[in-house]
Each structure stands twice: as structure tokens, then as C-alpha cells.
């Protein structure tokens, strides 16, 4: 039992060292979203995608993108050095507080997304439709 605990401790220390080295070599890797990166990513991932309206949150960490081909709205979130995207269902559960928009997605790895947008009211109406 003591041997197993030692093995586990050594493994955890090894992981910590490797993660430290990764941080040293590559930095924190936090990216921000831009219209170019959003449309490029969705054009690659979604067959037939044509960019429509794009709204990027003030911190450039979250964005809403309309697919002009079918009218669907996509959510994009900056994660590490990349992004995670989701096609939003019609009548998405949205809560607005001034210019702050919260999308309640209820996914196990993505319960909620928040955006600070100048035209939050427009997007709220669009997402509730």
C-alpha cells in the first residue's frame, strides 16, 4: 500500500514537472477570437457555412456567428489556444442583463456561456425566436 502511494506521488510530481515545462515553453496559450478566426474555423467545420452577422464579446473570449446559409446561430468560446463551437438550438435559454447575455446550455462540460455585447438585446430576440 505504501509502495502504491509512493508510485502515485512520484507520478503526480512527474506530471507537475512536465506541465511546468510545457508552461515554460509555450506560455499560457490564451487566445482571443476575431471575425477572421471565427469564419475560418466554421467554414472548415461546417459544410456550406457562409458567415452572416458576427458579434464578438468585449473580452473577445466569446462570440455569436450567424450562418447565412441556413440562419443557424453558432456560439464560439475561446479555450486555451483554440476555440470550442456549438450550434445553438432554436429558442435557446437566454438571460439578458443590460448588455450582458447569458446562454444556459445545460451541457455537462458547458453549462453556461456569457457575452458582453453592445447589441445584446438584438441577439436575445434572435436567440429566443
Amino acid at each position: 500500500m505504501g509502495g502504491m502511494a509512493l508510485q502515485l506521488a512520484v507520478s503526480l510530481a512527474g506530471i507537475a514537472l512536465m506541465v511546468g515545462l510545457c508552461r515554460l515553453l509555450f506560455g499560457a496559450g490564451e487566445t482571443t477570437l476575431s471575425a477572421g478566426s471565427l469564419t475560418a474555423r466554421l467554414a472548415r467545420d461546417v459544410p456550406g457555412f457562409r458567415a452572416g452577422r458576427i458579434a464578438i464579446g468585449r473580452d473577445a473570449r466569446a462570440a455569436l456567428v450567424e450562418n447565412a446559409s441556413d440562419g443557424a446561430v453558432w456560439l464560439a468560446l475561446a479555450r486555451g489556444d483554440g476555440m470550442v463551437t456549438r450550434k445553438l438550438a432554436r429558442a435557446t435559454n437566454v438571460v439578458r442583463d443590460g448588455e450582458r447575455l447569458a446562454l444556459l446550455l445545460n451541457e455537462f462540460t458547458l453549462k453556461r456561456a456569457e457575452l458582453d455585447l453592445a447589441d445584446a438585446a438584438d441577439w436575445e430576440a434572435r436567440l429566443r425566436a
Binding site: 502515485l8 507520478s11 503526480l12 512527474g14 506530471i15 512536465m18 506541465v19 515545462l21 510545457c22 508552461r23 515553453l25 509555450f26 506560455g27 499560457a28 496559450g29 472548415r44 467545420d45 459544410p47 456550406g48 468560446l77 479555450r79 486555451g80 489556444d81 483554440g82 470550442v84 463551437t85 456549438r86 451541457e107 455537462f108 462540460t109 458547458l110
Partner: protein, 298 residues
């Protein structure tokens, strides 16, 4: 007898090679690392090892249950080891193919594909709850019934997994044609981890890519369509526990909402993305949409 475990012996080499790839990536830009992604992958690897040891008795007990019905008793010899290695690799191919085509199995295997990066640390991003994939046990039955010793099966499977470690890299482009024709390589396995429509559900091989060529699932990597890694609905978490559980939670949610036994069974055994109203995407619907968008010249 406690079987000799090649994976345990290879762990120091795995660590050195991940470090070497990080340095290589920093110097050349020919591989990508992201600190939280790497931390998640390495922690998943450790968790998989620990939970694998805890639940090993399930696999051992099942094998011991089948063993008395073996048709022959094959002894240890170089020829038997070689035959067992090839047979295990064929088994791996079908297990792996099923793991992408059957939701129950995918719930576990999805963890290995959940990184949007492709480097040696991704190889260590392994599932935690393999014990819940009961149909997966059945894939071992033929090898046991043929009469290979259980320790030999465990040994060659360990060798198979060690081989698969080094192919998780962007640092190596391609090998000579003869090698690419027979063996699974970084190029072939990049295709397997890609979410590009043309690459979905391809290259399931463990060691020998000939199985994909033989059973019609081989796709060549193309320079004009660089692989993009991850899963169709990429996860938004670096928390290893959330990564390990997300497929299972999603399945449990769907099973709970099933209307009747037919839907219940379809959620378990149909391909990932299946839904009663067809509102979700399967790899077939994605590939069909993509094919419709291609110009006739493609």
C-alpha cells in the same frame, strides 16, 4: 503468474519522448502543445492506469470464465507470440471500429479523442471507465477460445499499446511507401483523430494498417486538407473528471429520455449522434453534407 507488462516498462520512455517532442515543437513549430490540454491528457493517463488496476479483476475473471472452453492449449513459443500479436491486432481493429460506431463503446473511447491537439501527450489521454463497456469484453473471446495463454494475450496487447504511443505526433511527416503500406504511422493515425468530414470513421488500425485497407476503412492523409483534431462537438473543459464522465452523462441523459425499449436500445447501440428525430449529426450525415458541397472536380 503476474504477466509482464510492456506498458509499465515503457512509461519512462513515454515521459522522455513527450519532453523531447515539447522541445522539438518549441524549436521547429512542427507540433502544438497547450498547457491545460497537456495537463488534462497526462492526468487522464494516470487516472486510467490507476482505475485500470482497480478494475482489472473484471477482465481477468471474465477471461478465466471463458478459458475452460478453449479449443486448444497453445504453449509459449516465438511463433505463438507472433501469431497472437497479429490476432490481437486484428481484434484491436474490430474493437476500435466498434468503439467509433456503437454509442455505448464510444462513451468510453471518446475521451481519447477529446483533445483538439495531437501530440504524444494525446496518446496518454485514456478513458477511466472501461469497466462500464461490457460489450468490449466480448472482443477477447476468440483469442481465448483459440487457446492462447491469457498472459500471452495480455503481453502482446501491451506491445500493441506501446507501438501506438509514438504515432500520436505531428512531428513526423511520412515514412517510405512500403512502411506506410503495411504499418500504422503518424500520418495514418492523424487521419483517424481528425474531424474533417473526409477523414471521419477511418484508419482504425492499431499496428498494421493493412486491416483498414482490407476492410475498406482506409483514408490517406492529404496535404490540401490538413487534419483538425478533436470530436465533432468539442468539449469545453480541461477537468479530467468531466472529460472522463461527459460521454457517460450524455448517454445516461438520453437513456432517461428514451420512449420505449426500441429507442433505449438504439441510444446504446446505434452510432454516436443517432437520435429518434434525426435532429443530431452522425458521421454519415456530416459526410453526406460535405460530399454535396464538393465540386464535381473534387
Amino acid at each position: 503468474m503476474k504477466p509482464f507488462d510492456p506498458v509499465a516498462l515503457a512509461i519512462p520512455a513515454f515521459i522522455l519522448l513527450v519532453v523531447a517532442e515539447m522541445v522539438f515543437a518549441r524549436m521547429t513549430g512542427r507540433a502544438r502543445f497547450e498547457v491545460r490540454d497537456t495537463a488534462a491528457s497526462l492526468t487522464m493517463g494516470l487516472g486510467s492506469t490507476v482505475l485500470g488496476a482497480v478494475f482489472a479483476f473484471v477482465f481477468v475473471d471474465f477471461a478465466l470464465l471463458i478459458q475452460p472452453y478453449a479449443l486448444t492449449r497453445i504453449g509459449w513459443s516465438w511463433g505463438a507470440i507472433a501469431a497472437c500479436f497479429v490476432a490481437d491486432d486484428l481484434k484491436y481493429y474490430w474493437w476500435h471500429r466498434a468503439s467509433h460506431r456503437v454509442r455505448w463503446l464510444w462513451c468510453d473511447h471518446v475521451n481519447h479523442h477529446s483533445s483538439q491537439h495531437y501530440n504524444l501527450s494525446t496518446a496518454l489521454r485514456q478513458p477511466w471507465f472501461g469497466v462500464l463497456v461490457l460489450p468490449g469484453l466480448l472482443f477477447n473471446v476468440p483469442l481465448i477460445l483459440i487457446g492462447f495463454p491469457l498472459t500471452m494475450i495480455a503481453f502482446v496487447h501491451g506491445l500493441n499499446l506501446v507501438y501506438q504511443f509514438w504515432i500520436h505526433t505531428e512531428a513526423i511527416d511520412r515514412f517510405p511507401r512500403w512502411f506506410e503500406a503495411v504499418m500504422n504511422t503518424p500520418s495514418h493515425h492523424r487521419v483517424h483523430h481528425a474531424t474533417n468530414a473526409r477523414y471521419l470513421d477511418a484508419n482504425y488500425a492499431g499496428v498494421f494498417i493493412v486491416w483498414d485497407r482490407l476492410f475498406g476503412s482506409f483514408v490517406e492523409e492529404r496535404k490540401d486538407d490538413a487534419p483538425r483534431y478533436g470530436i465533432v462537438g468539442n468539449i469545453a473543459s480541461y477537468n479530467p473528471l468531466r472529460i472522463a464522465l461527459h460521454g457517460w452523462v450524455s448517454l445516461a441523459h438520453d437513456l432517461g429520455s428514451a420512449h420505449g425499449p426500441r429507442e433505449f436500445l438504439a441510444y446504446l447501440f446505434a452510432p454516436p449522434g443517432w437520435s429518434p428525430d434525426g435532429s443530431r449529426d452522425t458521421s454519415e450525415t456530416i459526410k453526406a453534407r460535405w460530399a454535396a458541397q464538393q465540386s464535381p472536380a473534387e
